[in-house]
């Protein structure tokens, strides 16, 4: 009765109880029921989804691969296009395979021929000026200083040839005719062989048309003559130092030289009495604008005054150039050239000591104008009168003077001589020149005098560049 009451109290009847039981069972068993009823399908869906996913992944992969391929193809195409453009550019700009218009000017194996004429009008304040060098102006009036003809060219892969002939009114003289080696030799050697201006100092290598003054500097004129140009063989070595050092050694014959220092000896088969010349040249490129060259020279050989008498000639040279390249007129430059020479000449009586020096400073203030000043002098030992009349060589140690009717047979130079000069040069082009020079000459052994020169010079043909 209590249970019935309780149940009745709850309002739960039999039917309600069954319903509640069913609901509970349903709720309790629903997941598995659910699974039982729907389970297979969800598995399948998952499987299908997985398959779909896999398919998607594989499609993505394929897509990526295709993209890669496409990109690569595009790159290839681009590269090919670029290469074609490059090819086009290269072929469009390449010159025609067969020789074309540049052969229009005639090819010729002839040497380069050049001719240079140097003349000067001169006025001297004396009737008999001293003519120090052969190509200096001789008298008041218009003088022919020199006509120089050059033939230059390459002989073969091994040698080049340079020759110059100096012509004056009296006749033709060979100034230079020599070969230079072009091939590589050990120790960076270069050989010059023939008749050539020796590498003694600086001014001896400078042809007249290249010099900065109308007259030749006194020490060169006295000791070397117009030019020291013996026939010989010269060996030039480039010494392996960080700056340019050239060592030069030459063996020469003094026959035919017109200089007061060297002449053949009577003992002429003695090799030791040949003319040997040595020179060392140093070039320093101190900055881009400033260059300095220092050199020393030594020459020794027989001087013909007697058996085994020799002359020893010592020289020192300096060349400095300042050329500021960065300014708007890069043609402005200043250069200084100076040399010192000392000669010991053995004679039967005594050994003569002579020396001399010059210094020239030139300022190029415009492309076509330059101006300069030179000071030169020689100081010589007292000359001697030889015991014998015939001393063998003609010009030996004597200065040829116009005032003397017959050449006095003296050995030695005449005394001290001092000279200075101012000059102004105008070069209409590199191939012509007009120069005005005032010179004052003061010798010890006679009265001093002045001279004014107006030099004009013309050159034709491809006369090559001169050394620096």
């Amino acid at each position: 009765m209590k249970i019935r009451v309780a149940a009745g109290y709850l309002g739960v009847t039999n039917i309600n109880r069954r319903i509640i039981l069913f609901v509970f069972a349903f709720l309790f068993f629903s997941p598995s029921v659910y699974k039982e009823v729907w389970g297979d399908e969800s598995d399948e869906i998952k499987k299908q989804m997985q398959e779909l996913r896999q398919q998607m992944e594989s499609m993505q992969k394929k897509l990526q691969e295709l993209e890669e391929k496409n990109r690569k193809l595009e790159e290839e195409a681009q590269k090919q296009k670029e290469e074609k453009e490059v090819e086009k550019a290269l072929t469009e700009t390449a010159p025609p395979p067969q020789p074309g218009f540049l052969q229009r000017f005639v090819q010729s194996l002839n040497p380069d021929i050049s001719i240079i004429g140097i003349f000067s009008g001169a006025y001297f304040t004396t009737d008999d000026p001293i003519v120090h060098a052969e190509a200096d102006p001789e008298n008041t009036g218009i003088n022919l200083q020199e006509i120089e003809i050059g033939f230059q060219g390459v002989v073969d892969p091994y040698f080049r040839w340079d020759s110059f002939f100096s012509i004056q009114r009296e006749g033709l003289e060979t100034e230079e005719a020599y070969a230079t080696t072009l091939f590589s030799l050990p120790l960076n050697t270069q050989i010059r062989a023939g008749l050539m201006r020796s590498k003694f100092g600086r001014i001896n290598l400078q042809h007249r048309e290249f010099q900065d003054f109308v007259t030749l500097a006194l020490p060169a004129a006295y000791f070397l003559g117009e030019h020291l140009n013996p026939v010989g063989a010269e060996f030039n070595f480039l010494v392996p130092l960080p700056w340019y050092v050239e060592l030069s050694a030459s063996v020469n014959s003094p026959n035919g030289l017109e200089t007061t220092s060297f002449a053949p000896d009577e003992d002429s088969n003695n090799i030791g009495l040949l003319l040997y010349i040595f020179h060392i040249s140093n070039f320093f490129e101190v900055t881009d604008d400033f260059s300095l060259s220092l050199g020393g020279s030594f020459a020794t050989g027989s001087n013909g005054t007697g058996t085994e008498n020799r002359s020893n000639l010592y020289g020192a040279d300096l060349f400095a150039k300042y050329r500021p390249l960065k300014f708007s007129s890069s043609y402005q430059e200043v250069w200084l050239q100076s040399e010192f020479m000392y000669r010991q000449a053995e004679t039967p009586e005594k050994t003569l000591d002579d020396w001399g020096a010059y210094a020239q400073l030139i300022y190029r203030f415009a492309k076509r104008w330059n101006s300069g000043f030179r000071f030169d002098f020689v100081d010589t030992d007292d000359p001697v009168v030889p015991l014998a009349d015939d001393v063998g060589a003609e010009n030996l140690l004597r200065v040829i003077r116009q005032e003397v009717e017959e050449e006095e047979a003296i050995l030695g130079l005449l005394g001290k001589e001092l000279r200075y000069a101012f000059m102004l040069t105008f070069n209409p082009t590199e191939f012509s020149r007009i120069r005005l020079q005032y010179e004052f000459d003061d010798p010890d052994f006679r009265s001093s005098y002045s001279a004014v020169y107006l030099q004009f010079q013309y050159s034709l043909g491809p006369h090559g560049a001169h050394p620096f």
Binding site: E82, E83, E85, V86, A89, L90, E92, T93, A94, P95, P96, F101, L102, R104, F105, P157, R160, T180, T181, L182, F183, S184, L185, L187, N188, T189, Q190, L238, P240, L241, P242, W243, Y244, E246, S281, F283, E285, D288, S291, S293, K321, R323, L325, K326, S328, S329, S330, Y331, K367, R368, T429, E430, F431, P462, G464, A465, H466, P467, F468
Partner: protein, 356 residues
């Protein structure tokens, strides 16, 4: 190339020390004395051997020497790090008149390849240096170590068709040599240089080829860019100091109506200047161009008198600070010209400055 191997001057003592330290010399003898003698002999032999070896070329790079810096710049682009390039002349100096300093002989002595502009541009100073170089790789005109880059150019302008003589001034009988100022000629030049490098240094052929292709690609792109910049100014009348801009004018489409030099190499006379001013006013010339190494006073004056603008432009790589490559050169030239011309058209169009 400025450092020389001084092994010739290494003393025997130092060399012994080097040998002993490197453990490369094994002397079998036990006695100290004979070992010393052996070391002495070995070091003497090695020293003489080294003397000959050190004089020759030890560096693996190709040594290229050029006459002008523009060729050096192009050679550097093509050769990359397989070449060592040195230019003789400076970019800010007149390439016609360079001093043939003996120090240049030292560079030419060691060169494997010499590049020069040709057409007689360097004839005043380069031949004497080549003769003194003692280097058979460059002394013969046909040797592979010597390249006249004018032979690579398709269109040489101003080739005279009458017999030349010097009354025409400083004339170049083979044609105008300033061809590097047309960038299309830069392509041909680079091509020729690369070919020659491949001939001299065949091991690195593919490297040079690659670098050539890269350079040409970049240059082509830049040429299009410059063409675009210059396009609006085609037909502009200009006056230059010397006939050095003919190739540039040909490419950019400028018209050169006169030159400040009456003839090549002759400085202007007052009568010629007056005549030029008259002509310039008539033809409404806008631009006067002169390189910085020419006297600047006269062109500036002429420009002032005629209302034109005066531009001092570089014509070589290295002609100004910051111009280190072929591209820089044209960038500077094109930019300066176009900005000057642009300013001029602006001022012409603006009413204020012209009074209405």
């Amino acid at each position: 190339m400025k450092t020389y191997k001084l092994s010739y001057f290494i003393t025997i003592y130092e060399f012994n020390r080097m040998l002993v330290n490197s453990k490369k010399v094994v002397i079998a003898s036990v006695a100290k004395q004979s070992r010393f003698v052996g070391l002495l002999v070995a070091s003497f032999l090695a020293m003489t051997f080294l003397m000959f070896v050190s004089v020759s070329d030890v560096s693996a790079k190709v040594r290229v020497v050029t006459s002008v810096p523009t060729l050096a710049a192009i050679a550097e682009e093509v050769g990359g790090d397989k070449v060592e390039v040195e230019g003789l002349a400076k970019g800010y100096q007149d390439p016609h008149f360079v001093d043939s300093k003996p120090s240049y002989v030292l560079l030419l002595n060691k060169a494997d390849l010499l590049l020069y502009t040709g057409l007689d541009l360097e004839i005043g100073w380069l031949p004497v240096l080549i003769t003194g170089s003692r280097n058979s790789k460059i002394t013969s005109t046909a040797s592979p170590g010597r390249l006249d880059t004018s032979t690579l150019i398709l269109n040489i302008l101003e080739v005279p068709n009458t017999k030349v003589d010097r009354s025409m001034g400083d004339i170049h009988p083979g044609g105008n040599p300033h061809y590097w100022l047309d960038p299309r000629n830069g392509i041909a030049t680079a091509n020729g240089i690369a070919e020659r490098l491949m001939e001299i240094d065949p091991e690195n052929s593919s490297y040079y080829d690659e670098r050539l292709g890269d350079f040409v690609k970049r240059l082509n792109a830049k040429i299009q860019e410059w063409d675009k910049k210059l396009a609006p100014y085609r037909g502009t009348e200009i006056v230059t100091y010397h006939k050095s801009w003919v190739y540039f004018s040909d490419w950019a489409g400028f018209k050169e109506v006169g030159y400040i030099e009456p003839k090549p190499g002759i400085p202007p006379s007052p009568s010629h200047a007056a005549e030029l001013i008259r002509k310039m006013k008539e033809m409404n010339v806008k631009l006067v161009i002169a390189e910085s190494y020419y006297p600047q006073k006269t062109p500036a004056l002429i420009a002032e008198k005629t209302g034109a603008s005066f531009l001092a432009l570089p014509s070589q790589v290295g002609g100004r600070e910051g111009i280190n490559t072929y591209f820089d050169l044209f960038d500077v030239i094109v930019n300066e010209i176009t900005s000057k011309l642009e300013n001029m058209t602006k001022s012409v169009n603006s009413p204020n400055l012209r009074g209405g």
